[in-house]
Subunit: 916 residues, 2 copies
Amino acid sequence: MAVNVNTRVDAQRWVFLSKDAPDPGNKDLLGGKGAGLAQMTQAGLPVPPAFTITTEACNAYQESNDFPPGMWEQAVEALREIEAETGKRLGDAADPLLVSVRSGAKFSMPGMMDTVLNLGLNDETVQGLARQTNNERFAWDAYRRFIQMFGRIVMGVSGEKLDHVFDAAKKAAGTEQDTDLTAEQLRAVAQELKQTVEREAGRPFPTDVMEQLALAIKAVFGSWMGKRAVDYRNEVHIAHDLGTAVNVVAMVFGNMGDDSGTGVAFTRNPSTGEKKLFGEFLPNAQGEDVVAGIRTPIVISRMQEVWPEVYAEFQAIADTLEATYKDVQDLEFTVERGKLYMLQTRNAKRTGRAAVVTAVQMVDEGILSREDALKRVDPTHVQQLLVPQFDEAARKTAGKPLGKGLAASPGAAVGKLVFDPDRAEQMTLDGESVILARKETSPEDFHGMARAKGILTSRGGMTSHAAVVARQMGKPCIAGAEEIDIDVANRRLTAGGVTLYEGDWASMDAALGEVYAGRIPTVEPDIERDRELATLLGWADDVRTLGVHANADTPGEATRARALGAVGIGLCRTEHMFRDEGRLEHVRDVILNALDAKRARKEATPDASLQEARERYEAGLRTLGEFQVGDFYGILKAMDGLPVIIRLIDPPLHEFLPSRERLMVEVALADAAGRSGTDLDEMRLELEAVERFHEQNPMLGLRGCRLGILFPEIVEMQVRAIALAAARLKSEGLDPRPKIMIPLVGTRGEMVMERTLLERVVKDVLAAEGSDVAYKIGTMIELPRACMVADQIAESAEFFSFGTNDLTQTTFGYSRDDAEGKFLGEYVESGILPINPFETLDRDGVAELMKIAIEKGRKARSGLEIGICGEHGGDPASVQTCHELGLNYVSCSPGRVPIARLAAAHAALGHVPADR
Amino acid sequence: MAVNVNTRVDAQRWVFLSKDAPDPGNKDLLGGKGAGLAQMTQAGLPVPPAFTITTEACNAYQESNDFPPGMWEQAVEALREIEAETGKRLGDAADPLLVSVRSGAKFSMPGMMDTVLNLGLNDETVQGLARQTNNERFAWDAYRRFIQMFGRIVMGVSGEKLDHVFDAAKKAAGTEQDTDLTAEQLRAVAQELKQTVEREAGRPFPTDVMEQLALAIKAVFGSWMGKRAVDYRNEVHIAHDLGTAVNVVAMVFGNMGDDSGTGVAFTRNPSTGEKKLFGEFLPNAQGEDVVAGIRTPIVISRMQEVWPEVYAEFQAIADTLEATYKDVQDLEFTVERGKLYMLQTRNAKRTGRAAVVTAVQMVDEGILSREDALKRVDPTHVQQLLVPQFDEAARKTAGKPLGKGLAASPGAAVGKLVFDPDRAEQMTLDGESVILARKETSPEDFHGMARAKGILTSRGGMTSHAAVVARQMGKPCIAGAEEIDIDVANRRLTAGGVTLYEGDWASMDAALGEVYAGRIPTVEPDIERDRELATLLGWADDVRTLGVHANADTPGEATRARALGAVGIGLCRTEHMFRDEGRLEHVRDVILNALDAKRARKEATPDASLQEARERYEAGLRTLGEFQVGDFYGILKAMDGLPVIIRLIDPPLHEFLPSRERLMVEVALADAAGRSGTDLDEMRLELEAVERFHEQNPMLGLRGCRLGILFPEIVEMQVRAIALAAARLKSEGLDPRPKIMIPLVGTRGEMVMERTLLERVVKDVLAAEGSDVAYKIGTMIELPRACMVADQIAESAEFFSFGTNDLTQTTFGYSRDDAEGKFLGEYVESGILPINPFETLDRDGVAELMKIAIEKGRKARSGLEIGICGEHGGDPASVQTCHELGLNYVSCSPGRVPIARLAAAHAALGHVPADR
């Protein structure tokens, strides 16, 4: 027996044998795959001998661009141990050991990292392999696979060029199947591949097996900082300094004949959660054939018929592993001449549906506690349950689908077709929705997949790259739609006699695997009646301390939010109501006459035009006021007995006006054409009025409470409508609970002035109506100054609601509209920002300001109720921050209420989901 | 003797007699005028008997709109005391006492508050007065004056209407002089005035003298919250809750014949500081005649000839008062039949010149210590010394002045003529510079005077309303320019045969009293050679702890700043250099090609158009780089041996591009005209490029270090130029001290990335040049987030400089450009903001954030150098705040360096100037 590397203490240990790694579950050190191998090995399961080079070695490699001192020597010692165990030697011409070199980070990054199989082959050992297996064809096939993989991954030769050599040979042989090639033909392929590698890489293919090993390990390390891995980690928010481990595993072969095969399987259905082995196997194949989706595999239940004993052993192992990990497992296995080998186990990625169903199942089965079940479900899982579905009525009129494929990841998607990921990225940056159609996807496509609304492939199965990645992202995906001919080169697809080109609209229902031409309207899913989700969220409600409210502007939204578990409306935006049909003209009348009306009020004897402006202004407000009574009546009624925070008018007024640029051009054109007349005069007047409201930086201009202070009549109209609506409901025996919110307050003076006005109006109305509705007056905290003087503001505010969209804008000095298109992407990509602060609350800056505001606010008014109503309220990481800050509640869009409920429970449990 | 009101302790004391007020110097309680009367009375000077109703009574009145309980009774008791002292009684038909009722706040508000003279007259007492004085004409003149004043001020009748009655009577009598009217004619005038008052006010003129007194006191109280008083206090930053006292003083008469008169005088010349009585008197006149500027008075030195004894007594009193108050005094007096009465003494308002000269004189005279002398000079005084003067060469070519007047307040002004204050306000809001021309000014004109560049009147003397107010504001004023016919009704002036209309340009040199047609260029004053100022600022430098640097972009500005005492450049804005002649085209080449050049660098084989863009981008940068070396060489040379902080490019790039709106209109017009060709194509391309840089909110967009991160080549070019310039100077034996400042940093990542880039470039250049210039790299702190993470930023920043313009914008969420035109005025006016935060640093919000930044920054890097380079650096109140925050220095525009030096000394002395 060789020296056991694991007992050396005089140097850092970079390498561990699976069979005796002292902490086999340590994913931080061994990566997920390495930990799985070690745990399975040490549990006595059938696993090929293996060793793992640690993530620490990877990080050391990134710094020095070389193996850290001692690592290589430890790896060689570990290799000798595997050799001893298998009785073979790497590079032994007579009885060669072959190994796979696989990456394996702490978090699974499907297809992102590189793997080299069959390492140890060269012109000599291939002969030994042929003798060993008594199968020359097998040996040469293994060799040519190895050269292709090593050439591409380690030596950087274009995969297409190498595939082309192989494809040409098949063509020459008059076949399309790999298996039809003879040993001799494969030998020729191998030689030509080596020459191609040498020509393309500018150096010969290495024949020294130890050099092969060293280069392969370096390639895995190098792939950690490769573009696609970095892109992926940025997308799913995995830190770049985790590093990847490298696993060196003795090869077993699934392609040694019909008693061999390879497969992947989940212990339960990762799409629906059904408790039944779910997966696929390919007889006489190596693992890469399954994952790459090149040959369509056979469902795993069929294995029971083919190899009943193997199947039984596999089922038993699956049960054991699930019980051990207390989670659904994702397994890779190979059968070599009838013997089962486990190659990998890991917690299974799954759809939201499956996550919720299995978590609830496992509580029923006694495997999990309720709290652990909550931890098993990530907020992203719940989010997936919220993806839209087709409007069934519209689907019926949409005719027959173009074609069908596998329902790889559920949800409906509508978008313009694109056929390559760069174009997908570009078009989405231009504001388009796209569906990405590919023959099959590879890790290079990731950036386009991340942007697309849906993904469609014509090849590959339920565990193909496209399917796995889409499920993880919660994005609709139809895979293996073989009826659809996807022609990437010509940017078109054809199915059912119809051809669609890039830019044409398409719709897909990935729950059914159906693809349609054109746009089919989508609707929100009916999650209210989801029994398992209701059960899980009920447990979440028992645990969480943070309240969950919703942002809703209409009775319909409010009703939905309530059904989804919201216990109040945290933000009702009144200005959205202004844009409703039949109102905009009155809104414009109010705005365009506001300044003159103000002058008219100030002057003792205003002239006729000012007087007219004042009359139009007041008439416009009266009309709007009538509409608003109905608006508020509806939403307060929908939330009967629950609080509704109504925010007074907030956006810059020019948002309601015609476009300044358009008017400028139109007036210039009319002038140039020598036109005259009242039309032109009116346009000119309109332009003049629009110019008066034009601002350099509207985000920092006349908006929020500044409007109410300059034009108090607008706010008066709104408050009167709120009070009237509430009084009416009360008289009908209901329990309206309006809370009036003043936006964009930055000074004590604004709060005092607005509060005084509001109270006067409400009291007047209630007195006139003989009503006694209880109400509260509070403010948005959305400016850094508001945070700094929160004590002054709290003197006259009964509640605070953080408007973190604006607060993020002003704290960072970013205009969201400008930053996201111009530099925020580059900031996140280059690591200047760990995350887009508009998606997840910035802890160092924005949250610190919030902390000051909370302390000062509650000091001035003990028990001050504080919430958040920015979009962050529905982001799980931000919910965590809100919990830590001690907020009373978060408020988010109705559809995100379930996510927030779960995230709030996680926060209360101190649980940070692993996908973050 | 009547009950002494001052000894009552059982109720709040609202009223104090001048002769025994227990704390005669208490201006807070008695107001300035009341305190002066009490102090003079108690010092034994000849003062008519008087009592003062306190400012507290005024504030109580504002709350309840009525006299506070007990006040009236105390006032009546005090009146009885005056009656006892004078032996007359108010309302006594036989021997009536007359009183004046005068307002008097803590701070003098010239002409702002109302005064009623001769109170106590009615149809009966006027007869008594005639008998008392044996002068029927005098009595009726006093009565008609009283009716006019009381009618206007107390009863709200239009002054014009009342003047008209009097003017008509003069016209009917065929005279222009008041003094030509007979007693009988004046009696008729009085009767008609009473009828006019009754008709206009809708109630009869009160005959009850106690009712007159009560109403007059209420009118004074009411005037405190009158529009003009509120406007004035807003302008000069006096709190609205100070209140005004009311002084009731026994009347003495300067209009009882040629042995009587009235006047005002300063103990030293308030314009030049010359140590000599300066003032005017009017024989046979009441005080209002002097202040209103209706009759042109006689210089006070002539009094020596007319009334030598009175003059000697007056000079002695002046010396006594100056020694008592240790300050120049502003005196009002009346001579009644040869007897001198002092009516008022107060610290004199004066020009900046006079303030500096008298402060230095008084140290020489042993009256003041150096520290007290510093306290006697306000920063606004120094500011006045910095007002521009005509370019002498240009004046010579400007021809003869149109006319001349009194040099009432020095300085040169250029602007469009306007003839009424509303128009002046409107035009300045539209961005125009104006000169306000009026026959004479009144408090109602204040808002226009405050906006005008200069003030011109054709009537009134050196102590007229226009002169006093202009001197206080440090604004050029020519008063009493009788050669100039100012025709307000027709909006024109005529002089020297020339007529100028509203909107025509005019120039005035108020130091010489000369008015010119057209625009004469102005230059900065030569304050560097001002001996007294140098002396005073030398004392300031001895006292202050805060450094004073300057913001300068050119060698010329830097040289001037250095001459004015700046010990470094706190901000050199490099982008201003980009706009210089011959550079803008290269700047545009760089910007318009920047995005394509970036793509070209990213792509392996960019297409020809991208490649060309890259070449144009790089060529443009090379050319700019050559210019910049010269720029930096110049400024570093000018500041040899002193630090120069150079800020890298900061503004949004569209600022250098053609107007988007103009291009849109031009392209639309060309399209409509059916034009085609390369011109149009190019315009279209240009518009497209401009659109790519267009932003919704450029203030919050792609600017500051964000530019340097997206387009590192621009920053590299600048830093290379800085290093090259410094290396060259060093090789010439000079001592350049460049400090490179990165703008708009908000994250640790930005600072690290930029610092790394900058250091590499500087080191490369210095190594190549074989130079070892010392340099520092730091950052602007101008975002709330930068304050919150200042510790992270300080890890790689060697200095901080607060950019308080931007920090104020983001902290408040105000775009300065938008806010100042749209709502900031209303905010300050209504008291929501105590002050415009862009003028004076906001203590509650912005300064609190700065405090956090300073604490965190110095915690991370002890001894971190921190300054401020926003415009606040030259604002005295903000300098005070910076001193308290513990900054190392302030940096301001060169011309404000002397102000900052004095303000820093005041801060070190813990002195807050009284005018704040």
